[in-house]
Symmetry: C2
Subunit: 295 residues, 2 copies
């Protein structure tokens, strides 16, 4: 079967993968998610892991994106350097099986002392642009384990910066002296707002984190507030760095809704407009646009 | 036996403990270290854990300092608030067995939005002052899992601030996406110097950490440099926060020599004089001075 008759798109990450069946007319008619991320599959296991997808969703050409193309994935798809748009991604596809199985390259950014990489977010960002959900020039915030701030310039990824906010929060919650204080889910509440304000205003993250515990020990804050405050503190710090990437317009916040809502709330506390875009919809849009360029 | 005939001093931390036999003339004549920190002993186990110390070092009065006095230790010794000197610590001793077994209180600091606590470092700091190793007014840096910056005012702890540098480095090395890059020991080399300079100059720690990996992936830095650079970056960030605690004189760096040497090197890169004081000697001095106040 050819790409024009429909295809399978896979967002293949480090710990999970999501597969989607896309029909010839662009509708997504079937999907699945499992825990067969690249670490669970491991070297040598990818042909069989791909067969499982075909058995699950049907015999169609496959477009694979995310960490599957990293040096810990199946076959390395070299990064497309900035500026990178949909044509650059299509030109950089790594063909595992010519005409039938392709891996989307990530995007790299080098300028002066700055160095950065992404894998997976580029499909969402350029897909949202391709579908008109994001203007050609925009500042995009893409929260996740590694939050990305992306400058879209004339419809291409011109520059971007990664802030390790999600990973730092997870490390603190799972392994640090703050672990017992961070079990509650973070919410957008007064403690979150105070945390965001501190992070936006002060550049003392690695000290303020310890204060979270000290305040509880000294009766200056309630235990129940710690998770929301700490989440706000990390996100406010993230915004202080990311908003430096420029622009005055509304920020587009793209990704999983439970994360985009936290970042959008923090942006409004920072006095910036925020518009949320669902990451899954953007991913499917990106895959459709890439397939249009290769079919 | 009375305190005047000699005593046992114990630095009882979260994961380890160190015991010292101090003779009537102040000489330390025996010592041991083991992994019976408070987490390993656990609730109910402390009387027996104390007996082991007496069996090992002899039947003397015992002065216990560190996390043993925390809410996760044996008996909570309430924090002495700043300003706190040797007399305030002696007055705040928590007597487990009257006249024979005492726990040293920690120190707390509250001012405006600032809240902080320490347990264990106060004995070293005030001991070093008591022995004339630190002037009555000084800025002290005490690296460890939680680095402390202490203002000594007229021989008392006037204010202090904790930066989670050591814990953050350990979290990154053991559990993060940088783990495979941080296996080498950190050294004072050109990469360390670049990291310190970045941390002193820029307030983007949570973004710069990701760049460490990106630079290696993009061939802009060697893997072997990552541990020293990251250590320098965290310490430089720490110095930027801690040096804000004031003073122009040499900074006294106190603690374990392998850590004080890194921080002293970073201070010199920052253009500040640094003088190292051995934490173990300072701890024993502090215990002797406290015993003089109670015997």
């Amino acid at each position: 079967m050819s790409w024009a008759e429909g295809f399978i798109a896979v967002d293949w990450g480090t710990t999970n993968r999501r597969g989607y069946l896309v029909e010839a007319d662009g509708r997504m008619t079937d999907e699945f998610e499992d825990d067969r991320g690249i670490l669970a599959v491991g070297e040598g296991g990818f042909p069989e892991a791909l067969n499982q997808i075909s058995e699950r969703l049907g015999d169609r050409p496959l477009l694979l994106a995310g960490m599957i193309g990293s040096n810990r994935g199946w076959i390395e798809a070299p990064y497309a350097p900035c500026p990178a748009g949909l044509p650059e991604l299509a030109a950089g596809l790594q063909w595992v099986e010519p005409g039938r199985v392709a891996i989307v390259p990530g995007v790299s950014y080098l300028a002066g002392n700055r160095a950065d990489v992404m894998r997976g977010e580029e499909v969402q960002i350029l897909g949202a642009f391709g579908d008109g959900l994001v203007p050609a020039d925009a500042l995009i915030c893409h929260p996740g384990t590694h939050n990305k701030w992306i400058r879209l310039d004339d419809g291409r990824i011109g520059a971007f910066r990664t802030v390790m906010t999600g990973e730092l929060f997870n490390l603190l919650r799972e392994h640090s002296i703050l672990a017992d204080l961070l079990r509650e889910p973070a919410r957008v509440d007064a403690a979150f707002e105070r945390g965001v304000a501190h992070g936006l205003d002060k550049d003392d993250l690695s000290a303020e984190l310890f204060s979270v515990r000290a305040r509880v020990l000294l009766g200056q804050a309630r235990r129940e507030e710690a998770a929301s405050y700490t989440s706000g503190l990390l996100i406010g710090t993230d915004l202080r760095i990311g908003l430096g990437e420029g622009g005055d317009d509304d920020v587009v916040v793209m990704g999983r809704p439970e994360l985009t809502s936290l970042f959008a709330a923090a942006l409004r506390i920072a006095g910036r407009g925020a518009r949320e875009v669902d990451g899954e919809q953007a991913f499917l849009a990106g895959c459709r646009h890439l397939v249009e360029l290769i079919r």
